[in-house]
Amino acid sequence: MAQVSITVNGKRRSADVEPRLLLVHFLREHLNLTGAHVGCDTSQCGACTVLLDGRSAKSCTIFAVQADGAEVTTIEGLADGDRLHPLQEGFWEEHGLQCGYCTPGMIMSAVNLLNDNPAPTEQDIRDGLDGNLCRCTGYQHIVNAVQHAAGRTREG
């Protein structure tokens, strides 16, 4: 076993874990944060995307021990109390989801995208979400949702 201490959504969380425990399982099973989903489990679909030290990462492809000492943000950490994050609001307003399985990962990737590029073009958004698959929406409404959020963020 190995001791890990990871700051998740601003709270320090410590646990004894097997080194082979994946970060996504640490979040879901040890912390009950079930927002990050396991879709493909083969590093392709992005459903498990979280922010690791501020940058998007597929938590099914990282061992929890690698994140020891790091900061992780999951979809549960985005809203400010009852106030949705602009991206959550954008997905709501623009019908950016159907079944919702891909949505937490999509949103975390979009957070990474808007942090790097607050005024993305449609192509920038499609490139920024390259690592996330959606089997329902056909992506157009997801792009609209990110555009909505980018507009809101710029308005302040």
């Binding site: 690791l52 990282i62 990474n112």
Partner: protein, 286 residues
């Protein structure tokens, strides 16, 4: 998918990592970004007993230049290479290459050293390292040694790297007139055919050219025929197109899979060679 159990250790320095590799006696493996190794471990295609995480060794990441020589630390992430102002300005082929690896999450985690050591035949960086004629700096129990990129890649997932050696950094001379062009596999983004070109031009003439190929064959290689055809030619798109014609003819051990037959890859080599050369020429200063 759950990997087999292993012991985990964080290396504090290159020497510490080397000592741990030696202590593990062949059962140890280095872990950098984990974006090739972790998927393999989950499939139990790789079952190391000890994982030695080199991701926290100080000074193993970073990009700098002195006296025209660019140095990139092994732990430098693809995203940092892709967005490096220094590389975009001084040696754009390397930034071009990093920018088209996988997807944003992969680029946020994967490292240059991990990609080169892993030597997937469809990896992107090998073509760029051949085009810039990079020196790979390896450290082992006996100290440092330097291997040229063209000698490092020996075959499918096979490189000139001993089990107790670490790739610490790469160095190369900056090449402004350089570019990468890639036909990517739609799902994974790995290269079906990837071509990196680095040209030295002056007075409207191509003085020397180096062209690296990846994805198409079992291991990356230089396109010597194209390089010879370019030397001394005018620095024009017409010369690039003429040199690229037949670029795939001499390439042996072509890959074939559901993404493309050997014939298809051979046919695409000239197309992406021409595109890389044209993009490199567009960056030439005259």
């Amino acid at each position: 998918m759950i990997p087999t159990a292993f012991d985990y250790a964080r290396a504090t320095s290159l020497d510490d990592a080397i000592a741990r590799l030696q202590a593990a006696g062949g059962a140890g493996k280095l872990l950098a970004g984990g974006h090739s190794l972790v998927p393999l471990m989950k499939l139990r295609l790789s079952e190391p007993a000890v994982l030695i995480d080199i991701g926290h060794i100080p000074d193993l990441a970073g990009i700098r230049e002195s006296d025209g020589v660019v140095e990139i630390g092994a732990n430098t992430r693809h995203h940092d290479v892709a967005t490096s102002a220094l590389l975009r300005e001084r040696c754009p082929v390397v930034a071009d290459t990093a920018a088209v690896i996988g997807d944003p999450q992969v680029r946020n985690r994967g490292t240059l050293g991990g990609s080169l050591a892993h030597a997937d035949p469809a990896a992107d960086y090998p073509a760029a390292m051949l085009a810039v004629d990079a020196d790979l700096h390896l450290k082992g129990p006996g100290g440092w040694r330097v291997v040229k990129a063209r000698d490092f890649f020996q075959g499918v997932f096979t490189v000139d790297l001993a089990a107790d050696e670490i790739l610490a950094k790469v160095t190369f001379a900056a090449s402004r007139a350089s570019a990468y062009a890639k036909l990517h596999q739609r799902a994974s983004r790995f290269a079906i055919v990837g071509v990196a070109a680095a040209l030295e031009t002056g007075g409207g003439i191509i003085r020397t050219a180096r062209v690296g190929l990846t994805g198409a064959a079992s291991s990356p290689s230089r396109l010597a025929g194209v390089e010879a055809a370019l030397a001394g030619q005018p620095a024009t798109a017409a010369a690039a197109a003429a040199a690229a014609r037949g670029a795939g003819d001499g390439v042996s051990e072509l890959n074939a899979d559901i993404h493309g037959s050997a014939e298809y890859r051979r046919a695409m080599i000239p197309v992406f060679t021409r595109r890389a050369l044209e993009a490199a020429l567009a960056r030439a200063g005259g």
